[in-house]
Subunit: 389 residues, 3 copies
Amino acid sequence: MPVFRKTVETFTAGAKTLAQRYFVAPEVFVEEQSRIFSKQWVLVGHQSQIEKTGDYFVSEVAPSSDSGVTGLGPESLIIIRDKNDKVRGFYNVCRHRGTQLKEDGRGHASVIQCPYHAWTYGLDGRLIGAPHMDDVPGFDKADYSLHAVNLGLWEGFIFVNLADKPTPLEEWFAHLAAKFSHWNLAQLRSAKRIAYDVRANWKLIFENYSECYHCPGVHPALSKLTPYDSAENDLADGPFLGGFMPIMKGKSLTMSGNACALPVDDVNAADHARVFYYSIFPNMLLSMHPDYVMVHQLWPQSPERTLILCDWFFHPDAFERSDFHPNDAFEFWDMTNKQDWHVCELSQKGIGSRAYQPGPYSQRESIPAAFDREYLRQMKRGSSKTKLD
Amino acid sequence: MPVFRKTVETFTAGAKTLAQRYFVAPEVFVEEQSRIFSKQWVLVGHQSQIEKTGDYFVSEVAPSSDSGVTGLGPESLIIIRDKNDKVRGFYNVCRHRGTQLKEDGRGHASVIQCPYHAWTYGLDGRLIGAPHMDDVPGFDKADYSLHAVNLGLWEGFIFVNLADKPTPLEEWFAHLAAKFSHWNLAQLRSAKRIAYDVRANWKLIFENYSECYHCPGVHPALSKLTPYDSAENDLADGPFLGGFMPIMKGKSLTMSGNACALPVDDVNAADHARVFYYSIFPNMLLSMHPDYVMVHQLWPQSPERTLILCDWFFHPDAFERSDFHPNDAFEFWDMTNKQDWHVCELSQKGIGSRAYQPGPYSQRESIPAAFDREYLRQMKRGSSKTKLD
Amino acid sequence: MPVFRKTVETFTAGAKTLAQRYFVAPEVFVEEQSRIFSKQWVLVGHQSQIEKTGDYFVSEVAPSSDSGVTGLGPESLIIIRDKNDKVRGFYNVCRHRGTQLKEDGRGHASVIQCPYHAWTYGLDGRLIGAPHMDDVPGFDKADYSLHAVNLGLWEGFIFVNLADKPTPLEEWFAHLAAKFSHWNLAQLRSAKRIAYDVRANWKLIFENYSECYHCPGVHPALSKLTPYDSAENDLADGPFLGGFMPIMKGKSLTMSGNACALPVDDVNAADHARVFYYSIFPNMLLSMHPDYVMVHQLWPQSPERTLILCDWFFHPDAFERSDFHPNDAFEFWDMTNKQDWHVCELSQKGIGSRAYQPGPYSQRESIPAAFDREYLRQMKRGSSKTKLD
């Protein structure tokens, strides 16, 4: 059982929201993609989504070309379980003519074969078949393996990193070591995904997630289950932020208000009376309820648009039981998510105005303020000629 | 009754249409937004559209971000009638986190409350409620009123001006003082709005409105009611342009050809045999028929797209009478509008060609030529480093 | 009967696919439009599509403004047969206010009249009517003919050239003189057009057309009719590339596998056992089957999008015969086209990745390699300050 270090809130009196350009300027968006999303470990899924050898899914980890940002294409990756049960990631690009190997989605494959000229790769990425290439002088299959992407697992979640020499995953998550281990996160199984196309900057989603000041007006149903002013934060600075809110024992965030499945963590009775909300910079929101875990993946598409993938996970033994009512959770959060996206979209609209000025945060917005600090820290790092302030 | 000063037409022999870039170049569009639409008084509505205290409508007075023009967002404004019956305008942006306060449309409100964290403003824009902000050291509600926009009324029509120190409204309209006063424009009531999304530059709409040379081919029904060559212009230079065309007494521009409502102006019998067409730079077209007034608002969205709001107004006493047949007018002008937008869209397409060159205006196009002169005057004014010619 | 000079394949060992920027960079796209599509003879149709005096069609020979490329509009042209039976081409722009004269499509006209102010042009482009313009001092109709575009015919196909002083059409096609003359191409009649909007760079379409290495996997039905490894190329370098594949006598590329119409070329029995595929730089693909000719027109819209018009032509005597089953050919190629576009779209997606590198061509891809060489030659020509390599 974790000891929740009750952190002194590092609320800076006078903290204000970010300047307009951080939400609307294409230049800032390009910088973010380069300094954050191409440098940090980003969440792409969970190991339960590729259970057996040859199971794979495709993940797009960079903005689509719809973003209108010149030179930045979508980075499509194949995440696949190999013959040694190891999870691997490859750029979704044939080494012959550059063709995308697997289209969006999920599936199972014994080898990775290009649909164009049938070049064939093993699950470890090595080129094992290339018709008619033996006639080409100097051609050696060993030179044409699929390009691998850095990949690592944390608590069963799959992260990738596009940097050449990334910080090791273990080092990045060292601060969280053991904090979540009793939650069985690695063993959970995915039950549902909903994708949302939200017309708001990705940082507005984080800022929205990180406070419950908005809950009374925006989420009347949620506010009945967990009082909006009951949050306690135990991570209040840095890339990992959040805390918990109390909930009545046996209750959960569902339409009925009752737990809808076997507890995900059967060790720790105290946690069954809490809901935990953590943001993992830069693209993961981790919400742990007594009976299920919800995870949001955030994928910025343009300064004004974010694709959000929302997954629900349950205890592997929950699925077959008669007390398994997952729709009760899906419906609750689908409703709540949409309420959040709506106010985020309204904020995006207002922030675009020439009348917008950074506004004052209240003390109930200390986590959004901490997120902004971390964001600015990461944007400034390693930049000698930045104009960002 | 106004004396129509029959102006000598200031037609400049050799006048030609504007150069291509004025219709297609994003740079020119940005300049227009900056020098004209952010500096001049622009029409947003009529006082009859917010009759009672707390009635409001939302107006977007600048190009939407769909325009693709970096850094220019939509300027959403709340136009509202306060407790002293005064019409006020506010930027639609909460002073807390920048959230848009009111979504597109119209409504009634006793206060203006942000949907995100419930900050609450009075109808005069003052912040009167901000939960939990009392804990923030140095926070003073008085510092966080809504940002007001310059607003004024002319003949009952509501105009706003985004400039810091605009020309006073009365000064701007001084030239028109009393010219329209007998028309009862301030007392009229709005009966209908149609919005058109037109794939043409906004200046093509003005040029189209300002001549009837095109009427025989484009508007066969209109040409039967008012002969295309009968126009007399009494405002032929400057920001206000136009004149009138005769119509048979008791007739009007309707599907049936007959007046469809009580006369808007019951004083002046002579005017009942005329239709008046005036353009009010830069976004108003004012068409006065014996029995109704039609007003177009033009909102440039990009070099190649204009949003047009068309409103019909009637005498306040007309609505309850048995001789009130407003559809007769709506249908006539909806048909005629669409005929106009179609040729404007064809012009936009042709002007984009590398073969386009400015073409010669005829003497029947003296008002379009005058509009072009005024436009160029305004684009040049106050610019030391302009490359426009 | 042509002598097919069996060319020694000029396959360059080590040839690789083009660098990424040629497929995604807006700057390269602008250069291509300027150096290739605005300089070379481009296919717009076939003379059988405007059979009689006054028949016309509209062709858009440059990227649409949807491409997002500033300053490049669509070049809409009117291709029309005049009173002397001559095919002419005009920019689709009225000389008065720039209005597009004819909307997309085809039709018949005795004169070309502007829909806006009724300016009227003869089929030879001369202005013959301009209402009210006689009052304009110095106005002379002779100064306002429609702008003509360079136009020429090759084997009955209509080509235009936007350059001021283009290479004469005969000179450009000199290398092909008589090669195709026995095919009756000029006499064929068009039976069908399908338009495809393909999310891939235009060069990927050429490269795809120019090899059958992909046929086994992509086109199972085609591969049964013509073995994928049977191609012989007789044009292997320069702007005209291609060759032929054997097919069983009496057979053709149709759903049924049988010829579906009278032979297009009744002179040469040997050709009835071959299908010929030629690419004519920069926008024509010419596929000659025993019983029909298929022609693709390629129109780049953006780096990532190409509009493809596919026409099927038959012997003029074929249409009335009982053995005319054109759907058998349309369906076969519509299916095959879509298979090709799909892998081209997958290539576009993969090439946008940061992991893409030029990959090695096999000897079965000598024609794509030759196309790339020709393309680079044309992109470099006449450029002193190019950064292209």
